[in-house]
């Protein structure tokens, strides 16, 4: 059963020029999706629409069958999705554990240890962590959230290939354990290869790769 559905979504930066046109697609729990496409194809825009950061010109984004514009975008972002960004987007004056607890005040430090951080690192400033470590914190934040969907925009874009591969493996494994739906926008072939389902954004439409 799909948890998130895109229904006839059209979006453009101007009224005349659409970047997405009547896009339809379903996403299910427990699966890892990759959305690929050329630069400027509208991948990040689509992710913004799925996250409720922006609203479509027409069409609907449905969470468990309900239009998120009617249930509220803030509510959608708070309860249904959790975002992971290319540039980590951690709050600089909080520690890794405190960043994680922004979405779940009862989150255990063990999630950070599981993701490879050391005990001494979880209570120090996030600014003292490396890029890979910061992205682990961002993923830990997404995993501990009660939201069933993780939306990730180029999560490995700033990481070297070894770290990127490790991060994707962790994200995929932990999300599966928690039966979360993971939707990753990426340019990376490795990330796409790791996905259960790959969608390609092409000619303003979202199609399964190979279709």
């Amino acid at each position: 059963m799909s948890i998130l559905e895109i229904k006839d979504v059209t979006y453009g930066y101007t009224k005349l020029e659409h970047i997405l046109f009547e896009v339809n697609q379903n996403f299910e729990c427990g699966k890892f999706y990759a959305i690929i496409g050329k630069s400027g194809a509208g991948k990040s825009t689509l992710l913004s629409l799925l996250a409720g950061l922006d609203e479509p010109d027409s069409g609907e984004i449905l969470f468990e069958g309900e239009d998120i514009s009617k249930t509220g975008y803030t509510n959608h972002r708070k309860n249904h999705i959790c975002l992971v960004f290319q540039n980590y987007n951690l709050i600089d004056y909080l520690t890794p554990l405190e960043n994680v607890r922004l979405v779940n005040s009862k989150a255990s430090p063990s999630i950070l240890l599981d993701l490879g951080l050391e005990q001494s690192q979880i209570n120090r400033s996030v600014m003292k962590l490396s890029g890979g470590q910061q992205q682990r914190v961002a993923i830990a934040r997404a995993l501990t959230s009660s939201a069933p969907i993780i939306l990730a925009d180029e999560p490995t874009g700033n990481l070297d290939s070894d770290t990127a591969s490790e991060i994707i493996d962790i994200l995929k494994a932990r999300a599966k354990e928690r039966n979360k739906c993971v939707i990753v926008v990426t340019h990376s072939k490795e990330v796409a290869d790791a996905a259960d389902v790959v969608y390609e954004l092409k000619d303003k439409k979202l199609k399964k790769r190979g279709e």
């Binding site: 975002l83 987007n89 709050i91 405190e98």
Partner: protein, 454 residues
């Protein structure tokens, strides 16, 4: 929110400290401003209350030239009419007359001529009053009682003498002396030749600020007497005497202007008189009070405005640097209201200790700053008055009682209620500054903020 606000305040300690110092300094100045204002209020209301709620009935010199010597000729019955008004609390009426000291000497000046010495060798000026404590010269500080007691309305044949005149004649409080009418005095129209035995009830001090033309103008040769004594040397009684002027004190809850307006309806020949508010006889005092109010107001309002501008600029700068944080919090589903409340909490965590700190700083400095401000204002007023006097040739006018009187002391101290006012006003300013600094950010959506950040 509370925890995150606390973490921001403690971990961004440099920013918090800058904001803390700005609020401490500005709040301290606000508190000092309020305490100076209140101290000025108290000084003008309590010690100088009799000036601010009184007026004097004088002759209208444009149509009424007064006595032959040029003194006032206010009728006693007209004074009585005003006294009977329900708005009048008390009054002091004055008789100016002239008498000779019998077997005693006055203090002479170096420029006495033979003719004056023949007629006025031992002549003193008498100021008969019903209550010497309220006599203008004592109120203004020109005279100061140094020994004995003030005259009251029940006293008869009692005087207050200048201490230097008493010393010259080896007189002291309780001693008796004779006063005799002076037949050469132009105001002794009846040619009275009365002798009155008076008792010294008190001694006063005080010296002329400028030069005098005759010995009788010296403060030293002025006797403050009861009304009967001053009237009797001209062959009058309290009822038949003409008065120099009279000062009326209005009841505390009455508006002075309204009272004066009402009194003009009384059956009195108003063409012959003018009613002058006592404050107009104290230009330096008025200027020093208004100067202090002005400085106190500037300090209070200026601090609020300055704090508002500085805090707004700081917050604008710091909030712009936090647009990424705002975007992240929005992306995590935290509402704009909650984000704004976190900012408010952060401000509270910095400003509340700052208010407390400011209270202690202001408590320690208010008195000293108050005195400094008073000195500064007094110096400015003195210069201004001197300049005006010179340009208006008011050398003689400067001798008018109270002309140069100024506030000499204010007791500025910070009362706990002031911190409440400062907290209210400063908090409003802080809140406005925060709204100004965050509105343009919180009005944007999460995606716009993220795009700007990138």
């Amino acid at each position: 929110m509370f925890k995150n606000a606390f973490k921001y305040v403690t971990r961004k300690s440099a920013k918090s400290m800058i904001l803390f110092l700005v609020v401490v300094i500005m709040s301290s100045l606000c508190l000092v401003g309020l305490s100076i204002k209140d101290a000025t209020n108290k000084a003008s209301n309590t010690s100088l209350g009799s000036i601010t709620n009184s007026f004097t009935m004088e002759i209208n010199r444009q149509v009424n030239f007064g006595t032959p010597r040029g003194a006032g000729n206010v009728k006693g019955k007209d004074i009585e009419k005003i006294c009977s008004s329900k708005d009048i609390d008390s009054y002091v009426k004055r008789i100016n007359s002239v008498a000779d000291l019998v077997d005693h000497d006055i203090i002479l000046t170096s420029n006495e001529n033979e003719e004056r010495l023949t007629k006025f060798k031992s002549t003193v000026m008498l100021t008969g009053v019903n209550e010497s404590k309220k006599e203008t010269k004592f109120v203004s500080g020109a005279y100061k009682l140094v020994e004995g007691k003030h005259l009251n309305s029940k006293d008869k044949h009692q005087i207050l003498m200048h201490k230097d005149l008493a010393a010259k004649n080896h007189l002291k409080v309780g001693d008796k002396l004779l006063l005799r009418s002076n037949i050469y005095d132009a105001d002794n129209e009846k040619g009275a030749d009365e002798t009155v035995e008076v008792t010294i009830k008190g001694l006063f001090d005080g010296h002329n600020q400028g030069g005098v033309a005759a010995a009788q103008e010296l403060y030293e040769n002025n006797l403050i007497t009861d009304l009967d004594t001053a009237a009797k040397v001209y062959g009058n009684t309290e009822k038949t005497a003409v008065y120099q002027d009279a000062t009326f004190f209005v009841k505390g809850n009455k508006d002075l202007d309204q009272v004066i307006k009402n009194l003009r309806k009384l059956d009195i020949n108003w063409n012959a008189y003018v009613l002058v508010k006592s404050t107009s006889n104290y230009p330096a005092l008025q200027k020093s009070i208004s100067g202090l109010y002005s400085v106190a107001n500037k300090m209070f309002i200026g601090s609020l405005i300055f704090a508002g501008i500085v805090v707004t600029l700081l917050l604008l700068m710091w909030m712009n640097a936090r647009r990424k944080e705002i975007a992240i919090l929005m992306a995590l589903g935290i509402s704009k209201t909650k984000i704004f409340i976190q900012f408010v909490l952060e401000l509270c965590m910095v400003t509340i200790p700052a208010y407390i700190f400011a209270y202690f700083i202001a408590s320690k400095t208010a008195s000293g700053l108050g005195t400094k401000v008073l000195n500064q204002v007094s110096t400015g007023v003195a210069k201004q008055i001197a300049k005006e006097s010179a340009s208006n040739q008011l050398g003689g006018g400067a001798e008018v009682d109270g002309f140069n009187k100024m506030l000499t002391h204010i007791d500025a101290h910070v009362e706990p209620k002031y911190i409440v006012y400062v907290i209210i006003f400063m908090s409003i300013v802080m809140l406005v500054a925060l709204v100004v600094a965050t509105t343009h950010l919180l009005n944007k959506n999460c995606k716009e903020l993220m795009n700007e950040e990138e």
